[in-house]
Amino acid sequence: MAIIVNLDVELAKQKMSLTELSEKVGITLSNLSILKTGKARAIRFDTLNAICAALNCQPGDILEFRMDEKE
């Protein structure tokens, strides 16, 4: 997919583990794992809002568009 999730980068910047983020945001670890591994098909604004608040970042820091070669 052309949308890349940079959640691991932001987590590394904040020196936060996925479990900690899960506890802060109130999203299950499995759902965050789906997001982190790029398997997610969609993300709710609520989730994005909670992650951005927890990591003190902008949506653009987590999501990135890269032109897919196939497209």
Binding site: L32, I34, L35, K39, A40, R41, I43, R44, T47
Partner: protein
């Protein structure tokens, strides 16, 4: 246990009985074919081919029943909206299509060997039933495919 699961359990029980009946009919076809050939010696040469065709059609019906049991089993296990269910429904659709060439062969075989037989009417009726069943199974499998896609999309929405 919810109502749907109870209904599925009852249907599995019914399909189990249907399996038993189909096997019993399959076994009874042998003496029936002998009796028919004895009573009508002019069509005795058709006994073996028609018996084989009848067994083939029964085998297809049995396959559909077994696949239906597997599908209802998935309903009980709460695994109904998965790709496997779509595959089972497609297999049921294909199993419904398989008897059609056999029935067409039966029509031609009867036309060439028996004058004025009403077997062909039953064969045409069978072809229609098989086609309708096949269309139904493929339609349901297509609907299931959409449901599986929606479910996957929903599960992968974080």
């Amino acid at each position: 246990m919810n109502k749907n699961k109870i209904l599925s359990g009852l249907l599995i029980f019914g399909l189990g009985i249907a399996t038993f009946i189909i096997v019993a009919i399959g076994i009874q076809l042998v003496p029936l074919s002998f009796a028919t050939a004895k009573a009508n010696p002019e069509i005795a040469h058709m006994r073996v081919p028609v018996l084989i065709m009848a067994w083939f059609i029964l085998a297809c019906i049995l396959a559909i029943v077994v696949l239906a049991v597997a599908l209802f089993g998935r309903i009980i296990k709460n695994k109904v909206f998965e790709q496997k269910s779509v595959s089972l429904l497609k297999a049921m659709g294909i199993s419904s299509l398989v008897p059609i060439p056999v029935l067409i062969a039966l029509v031609f075989y009867t036309m060439n060997n028996v004058a004025g037989s009403i077997t062909n009417l039953w064969a045409f009726f069978g072809i229609m039933v098989c086609m309708m069943a096949s269309i139904f199974f493929f339609l349901i499998s297509s609907l299931f495919q959409n449901a599986v896609d929606y479910k996957t999309e929903n599960e992968l929405t974080v």
